[in-house]
Symmetry: C2
Subunit: 799 residues, 2 copies
């Protein structure tokens, strides 16, 4: 559907300019985007009537509307400054308070100042060369950003460095996998690099596909296909099929879960190496051409990526502490999260060769079958001797302590400089970073420019805003985590919120937001005041298109908001420090688009052209994301009363408690036998709900002119998220300390609610000692009940 359109339409839009006035409209009056494009194709035929249709139009302009839009835009831009006080008054009225008109007009100015063409220009500029963490090129980009942020008008900008463990292929001894014949001769070798995309042929320093932090080694052996390498896949192999992976090399397809979890599972299963491949079933959309003719992954493309199981530790050699000059470093053998076996990623052309050469048993069911023209046998070791060829891995990747650089910029808060709103996203990329992260970094750059412009005009937010360009995210969220570690003492007291700014698109269908529940209301209110970039929603708010395209029907009639998991730089701030966090980006259609991530993810084919031709040719989706991210930091930094909604947290807690209880009730007999009760948890949630309701009720009567009284309730609001942090951490995961949310133990990307209870119940039917296992469930329920209860206490009257 939308992919077909993407595939055929993109080449017609190559570059654009705009002189249009981009106006930020309050609810009810929405801007057009009177951009002038150098080349523009009008696409007449819209051959589908489904809601998903709206996704398509955002990538083109209806030129015949441009003039009307321009006049309308100008009119509304004038009208706006009259109406905006009233509208925002209504907006703020939801919290029962007045907001200064100046704040409103400044927010309008701030969001309207952002321009799609600037985002385009920054994306173009930042993606010309590879910016791998730890390289000279990425340091140069850091210095460029430092200089430009200063020029934009920030109060201070500095580079902050850490010396962390990174991992690079050995240039003189490349990684590959061979198929051996019966004479141990290597009859096939996987490719050493991806074919460079057009226009980038002479660019040096393109790192070939590899899995960072792979162990070195040259294991050889029989190959076992393990599907996605998920916990349940290994369970199926081991428990249902009796396949023993010990001493085998396993091959798993990418997708569904974080690759580090696949590697961990392989290690637990006893494998001596793991090969990760991109199956077309997971990395090609039907009917879409491969890059550069479309946005599908070419057969020689492969997904780079680290395979750590850090569980939030940051730099593997300095877990819990910043990797500064004074840091004690573990030796690499003791480092946190480092895999003990070689790991290597390959494309589907090479994968087909390896899979074709497998003997053994056919895969257990059709869910194990990808779309390669091979049998996907599970390989030898199941019910017979080795049938065909063994494989041999050649992995020579080196771990090296390397200097990385964050760029940290600040706008000092006017009245509460000691309250911090952080907007952070990474700068480092595997190669060009066309989507990941530069669609995010370009958006941050435009937000900084817009904020700086306001500062130059004399504006200053109430609270301090910190902008961060993180390094080495791709190597385990290292730059952001080390900075969080270095500044932990200050942040735990002063940080109000962290807004993440990784890739701003991973699709072009609709908005996707993951955030702490207390930010739901702010996100919705903002989305109602930002124009939708989607075709068919011109002059409608982003909220409308988002709501129509991704309704949260199972829970409520509103756009879906998801739980925060991990896999990006908010992790240390949210999961470790308990700072209210949010992330927003444009995404694909979750109902129809079944491929994993976006197809060329972490390949050399993530280029500027990919984005401009296929994803967001007008850069208006990225602009919308910039306005969402920017709007969040603006409101958090400048609202007299912090825009957190504790009642939303109450609703979420009830939902999570219901959900974990539903899971538990599958084992009703054991619940009875071992006297496992969830009553305390539900009681805690009830108390929390009452405390949250009362708190917001009391807010209505506070004196908004009494800065100390405001500070007191704002401190309560700021600290609510902190209250969910348990200094003891989750079992075995000391740096995941949030009791309500954690990255899933089975998939780092996904957020799990009440993770302590969830993990205690996971696979409990197979527990060696059911008594002990159910005891641990009881203990975890008790910890959750305590935490919710204690959080409720933070919302009651302070004395």
């Amino acid at each position: 559907m939308s992919k077909e359109y993407l595939a055929e339409s993109v080449t017609t839009v190559s570059a654009m300019e705009s002189d249009g006035l981009s106006v930020f409209f309050p609810n009810g009056g929405y801007q057009c985007f009177p951009l002038r494009h150098r080349q523009l194709s009008t696409r007449a035929q819209d051959n589908e009537e489904t809601p998903e249709l709206w996704a398509k139009g955002t990538r083109q302009m209806r030129t015949n509307r441009n003039d009307v839009c321009r006049w309308l835009g100008a009119f509304i831009s004038v009208a706006t400054f009259f109406l905006v006080g009233f509208v925002i008054g209504w907006f703020s009225g939801h919290s029962g308070h007045d907001t200064k008109g100046s704040t409103v007009s400044n927010r309008g100015k701030f969001l309207n100042e952002m321009k799609a063409e600037n985002i385009r220009a920054y994306l173009r500029n930042f993606t010309q060369l590879p910016h791998l963490a730890g390289t000279e090129q990425n340091l140069r980009l850091a210095k460029q950003i430092e200089k430009e942020w200063k020029d934009f008008g920030l109060d201070s900008v500095e580079l902050v460095h850490y010396d962390v463990l990174l991992s690079y292929p050995n240039e003189s001894n490349p990684n590959y996998i061979a198929i051996l014949d019966e004479n141990q001769t290597e009859v096939f070798n996987t490719s050493l690099y991806e074919v460079t995309p057009p226009g980038y042929e002479n660019i040096p320093n393109i790192v070939p596909p590899y899995n960072a932090f792979s162990a070195k080694g040259e294991p050889e052996g029989d190959l076992v296909y393990v599907n996605y390498g998920r916990t349940e896949d290994f369970h199926k192999l081991h428990r249902e099929l009796g396949v023993n992976c010990t001493g085998k090399i396993v091959i798993a397809r990418y997708g569904k879960i974080f690759r580090g979890n696949k590697v961990k599972n392989a290690i637990l299963a006893g494998a001596k190496g793991i090969i990760l491949f991109s199956d077309p079933a997971d990395y090609c959309a039907p009917g879409v051409n491969v890059y550069p003719d479309g946005w599908n992954l070419p057969g020689g493309g492969a997904q780079r990526g680290n395979v750590l199981n850090l569980n939030g530790a940051g730099d593997p050699l300095t877990p819990g502490y910043p990797a500064k000059e004074y840091a004690y470093r573990y030796n690499t053998a003791e480092g946190a999260g480092l895999p003990k076996i070689p790991v290597h990623p390959i494309g589907y052309h090479d994968a087909e060769k390896l899979l074709k050469n497998m003997g053994g048993q056919a895969p257990p069911d059709k869910t194990w079958k990808g779309s390669l023209n091979v049998s996907y046998n599970i390989g030898p070791g199941f019910n017979g001797p080795f049938a065909k060829s063994k494989v041999k891995m050649h992995i020579h990747t080196n771990n090296e302590v390397t200097r990385i650089y964050n760029v940290i910029g600040k706008i000092r808060g006017a009245s509460e400089p000691d309250r911090y709103i952080i907007l952070g996203g990474h700068r480092d990329s595997w190669v060009f970073g066309g989507i990941d992260p530069t669609t995010g970094a370009a958006v941050v750059h435009e937000i900084v420019r817009s904020a700086g412009k306001l500062v130059k005009q004399g504006w200053r937010p109430q609270r301090t805003i910190i902008f961060a360009s993180w390094d080495a995210e791709e190597f385990g969220l290292l730059g952001s985590t080390e900075w969080a570690e270095e500044n932990a003492k200050v942040l735990q007291d002063r940080a109000v919120a962290y807004i993440n700014a990784d890739s701003s698109i991973e699709g072009n269908y609709t908005l996707r937001v993951d955030c702490t529940p207390s930010l739901n209301t702010l996100v919705y209110n903002l989305a109602k005041q930002i124009p939708s970039p989607d075709e068919g929603f011109e002059s409608m708010p982003l909220y409308e298109s988002w709501h129509k395209k991704d309704n949260w029907t199972e829970n409520r009639d509103a756009p879906r908001i998801s739980k925060l998991g991990s896999g990006s730089d908010f992790e240390a701030y949210f999961q470790r420090l308990g700072i209210a966090s949010a992330r927003a980006r444009y995404t694909k259609n979750r109902k129809t688009d079944k491929y994993s991530n976006y197809p060329v993810y972490h390949s050399v084919y993530e280029t500027f052209e990919l984005v401009e031709k296929f994803y967001d040719p007008r850069f208006t989706q990225m602009l919308a994301v910039a306005q969402v991210r920017g709007g969040l930091i603006f409101e958090l930094a400048d609202s007299p009363l912090l825009p957190f909604d504790c009642k939303e947290y109450a609703l979420a807690l009830k939902d999570y408690a219901d959900s974990i209880y539903r899971l538990a009730k599958v084992h009703q007999a054991q619940l009875d036998l071992y006297r496992v009760s969830f009553d305390a948890l539900f009681s805690g949630v009830e108390n929390f709900t009452k405390a949250a309701t009362d708190f917001h009720e009391r807010l209505k009567s506070i004196d908004m002119k009494n800065s100390l009284q405001l500070r007191i309730v704002n401190d309560q609001l700021k600290n609510l998220e902190r209250a969910f942090i348990d200094p003891l951490g989750l079992p075995g995961r000391p740096f995941y300390r949030h009791i309500i949310f954690a990255p899933s133990s089975h998939n780092k990307y996904a957020g799990e609610s009440f993770p302590g209870i969830y993990d205690a119940m996971f696979d409990i039917e197979s527990a060696e000692s059911p008594v002990k296992a159910w005891d641990e469930v009881k203990r975890q329920i008790s910890i959750a009940a305590y935490t919710v209860q204690a959080a409720a206490m933070t919302l009651t009257e302070v004395a």
Copy 2:
């Protein structure tokens, strides 16, 4: 010396009344104590001229001075209200700020309102019956205190309960130790109870001497004398003498270190039981009679006490979490800190019997010899077969989950109700609690009464004051720790300081203060404005007598202030939560008084009469302690700028760094070989010093009328202590999280600075792997350097 005096003089003072006006004087004008005593002996002959002489006079009145004093007192009391604004202005001027006159006069009122005779009356009232934790009697006392605090005028008072593991002797199966003859016949049994002191013969519910949480059991075996049972004692036995304690029953004398550490050492040495006895060398002062004729421990007296190694965990069954209805409880076998072997305390009469019956080798040197008329042989197992008799322990003590009750009272702060100053001390006692804790509880009661009176007059402190009467301190600081756990989320944000109020006397020589370095200056300033109760210092400030009697000469020319260790209820607040803490009491002469603690500590002989006759007959030392404790909470609660001195912390850090480096340099060859450097730590201390100096410099220019600006710097001051907390805790001690201070791993009572480094270096010459051991030293130096550096960052400009 002073003991002799005590012994002979006390019986002459039996009861007293006072109608005198107790006036709190600013620096320069000091009150007399015109108390009228019913019976009073004038002691003419002062036959010593040493400074220690001053300690004596405090226990009597010079009646011929009374009239002069009364007039002088009246005059000064009037003059005070004129001068007090100026003087406190000077006092506050040290921080460079003005203080409202109202605050000053209120502090004057607050401290002057406190009366010695009230403290006496409360002590009398609270010590009539035993108040063992978990008993009906102690609940009744809680309810009485609750009611009286309400009557005094607190805004709210409530009982807060927890269900914690306590431990009681089995009433129908008493604990004792027997000497067996060669036929296994019990030829001698230790006594089952102490002889009740006169006047208490008919009081029920006196628990016999026992060690709470002892394991049950009836081990029998050879006895080995282990001196004080310290780490070094067991090292001497094992390494120098080759004595193997495995399977033996060991007998250790009380004193020098916390009894729980003795038990832990015994367990590590393989002992199957441990007997603790009070040696006269440690529990009798020379020339002093035993109670009731003096304040020495009678031969049948024994020291009760818990033998847990909780390391700050609180309730053994709910470590880290409050023991509320929803709590998950470990079963007793898994409980935190519970000893695995039987433990029992005996007096020196019984001890003599056991020691006389030992065979084996004489003690290694004279430092092992106590003052009993026995050989103090180390016992069989050294160089020969069993010589004389074996012993058999009969221990039937039961651990029981029992409800305990804290009394929590509050005065709501006027402008910053969300900032808490806590004054807490325990209420539970082993028997009558004559000294421990009721000299503290009576003082707290008088402080509450005085504060309540001010509240009734319309006063209200700027910040909230919380008064706590903790339960079950004697069972491992349980009441205070559970409350800290339940309120952790709120406290970590809101608590400004915790002032501990355990026994207010342990001697009657001079003031003793243990506190966080940032409170040094406040303590000194207060001591300069509180009259000394010491004879010879009449109309001089407490600071003068304190300075003269206990000069901190090795560090500076000022009264000694010590590090906080543990052993009382501040532990969870300071060592776990990082709340600035202090304790103050009257103590003995550290130079001359070589007995441990005070002799009748934790025996049935801790009575009201003990205190009134021998320790503080006029109750003026307790009054001084009340004024110190009360003055601390008043200043912390009501000073616009928090009275913390970060520069004192800087001085202390430098001192501790020098000290740990001196210790390390003993191993200079290893420091070189393993490249162990303390540079990063010293560099951190330097940065901290500069940050602290700059911070206080900036304070001079802040606008004291800007409540938000004040709040911002006050938050920095409040959070400084918090910055020293490492959520990962010290190695193996997750609830000791302060990186600068911890209870010594070898003696819970003592405070150790840079405990992580200290413990890593302890006995490092015996390390199995020196490389690993020195690596751990390096890691701990790095953590300390990071923590000091991070704390420094909290003091720099906030943005």
